[in-house]
Symmetry: C2
Subunit: 302 residues, 2 copies
């Protein structure tokens, strides 16, 4: 069975871990690159790395970074006046250095990502949504225009969001393999990521959006539980942008794209068929791998 | 009293530490950049960093790198197939990342070096010989053409050297302040570095060579003790290139440039006036700071 997941960071990576645990599944994850940003001259790809580390089983305690990592270099960067709010672990830094080196030498991000995947003995395919830059830019209600990392890391996603843009999306092409994977997938899953900030940047690449829209079985997992995001600002952003709150907000964010939405068991009241989408309830707290696998099996009807 | 030192790595940095310990000395060190090389996409400047760390008192146990450093990132680079023979410590890496970032943004090496110097509260001036690339290239007796790092680090300076070149030297300009420092110095000291591989690359920049030649008091310290280099291949290279062995080799390497040569006490037999150069003996084992200061005072006639 061929499965594609569109994914942002921690939540999507945990879903991918659940899917990868199901035998006989040929999994391809298509990962958001809207948060990618040069930091200290290094090419940081937060969602790709969270995906790699989670599928390799070496993710850090909060879901990002490497387990057991140290922060010697990151702390020392402050000596030279560099802002080190973005916590770059020492193990993690090796990957960043490798990626930056290969990109500078001219390798596309997808090729570098595949080398990294192989370095960690990961079987599932991991593809960035695009090899071209797609950058999420947030305009706050105060009129500040921020890169995603500024908004999320430096300012702790405390700002209210007036609008969001995906710079480069119009000219960005899907990375090699993305469209073929979606078209040949039995099921396309949209992970429990922030719809606006993690999934929209992927869908902002028109051919990807078209391929997802054309697919007959697209299942999204809501990142909200009782109307609140487990982590990050998904709920606030859906509300700030006037898209909606709770399950209705998630449905609106994916309008015309999905056949099914999985909400958490606590939101059982939202189940049924809403605007042509079948809304089903299941436990969506999937920080434990076994829970993620259960959810994966339920979605795939196994 | 104004003092300039031309320096390579560990030996020259130890000499600089001795000079910096003498009160009322206005010290400027002009540092070899011939060993600089991009490594993993980072701008590595081994001699500049050894100088900074030694003057800051944070140098590693073997004279290079940082004391108490760890090598987490460096070890992890191997996962991605990168050659990590060049031991990049985690603390050390912060400086490399900072330098690479600033150089990429367009700052000249001398400006970055001065920022680094200030970050470590070092009073002495530290100037790279040139902001332009000067690269030491070694041709071995087997005909292999190697960068200095390949020759020195990857191949452990085991090869015999047929010839040496300093790529870029003809067009390289002295970094800002280099010529003024030499011209206004009461004494110019050539540190106990490898004459061919650490000092020649500095002198390969013609205006620097001219300024040193024109100076009335240039004192070199021999890096050889009993004809052997304390570390590194200085003795072998002087011999391989047919320049000479022992004190005679060092004198030949600095022909026409120096007024005085300090040899180690064990080479007392070599003292006297040789080819117009006053050769004096003094203890030159200066790994202990107090010994370095004694040597500094002796050279400066204090």
């Amino acid at each position: 069975m061929k499965v594609v997941e569109l994914s942002g960071g921690v939540g999507g990576a945990r879903m991918a871990r659940g899917l990868a645990a199901v035998h006989d599944i040929d999994l391809t994850v298509i990962v958001n690159v809207g948060d990618d940003l040069p930091t200290h001259g290094l090419h940081i790809a937060p969602d790709l790395d969270t995906m790699v580390y989670t599928l390799a089983g070496v993710q850090g305690p909060h879901g990002w970074g490497r387990s057991g990592d140290s922060f010697v270099t990151n702390s020392e960067l402050a000596r030279f006046g560099l802002n080190n709010d973005f916590k770059l672990g020492d193990l993690d830094l090796a990957l960043k250095i490798f990626r930056t080196l290969r990109l500078t030498e001219g390798s596309p991000l997808s090729e570098v990502t595949d080398t990294v995947r192989a370095s960690f003995d990961i079987r599932s395919s991991i593809i960035p949504a695009s090899d071209d830059p797609v950058r999420t830019v947030v305009t706050t209600d105060e009129g500040d225009v921020l890169s995603f990392q500024e908004y999320f890391v430096n300012r702790g996603h405390r700002d209210h969001v007036a609008s969001i843009e995906f710079e480069g999306a119009k000219t960005a092409r899907p990375a090699p393999g993305v469209i073929a994977a979606i078209e040949s997938a039995d099921t396309v899953i949209i992970g429990p990521s922030n719809p606006v900030m993690s999934i929209w940047p992927i869908l902002s690449v028109e051919p990807i959006r078209d391929a997802v829209r054309a697919h007959h079985r697209v299942v999204a997992i809501s990142p909200l539980i009782g109307g609140r995001a487990l982590r990050g600002p998904a709920d606030v952003v859906l509300s700030d942008l006037g898209i909606g709150v709770g399950t209705g907000g998630v449905l609106a964010a994916y309008q015309g794209l999905i056949e099914m939405l999985v909400v958490d068991s606590v939101d059982k009241a939202d189940t049924g068929t809403r605007e042509g989408v079948k809304v089903v309830a299941h436990e969506t707290l999937i920080s434990e791998p076994a829970k993620a696998e259960q959810l994966a099996r339920a979605i795939l009807g196994l």
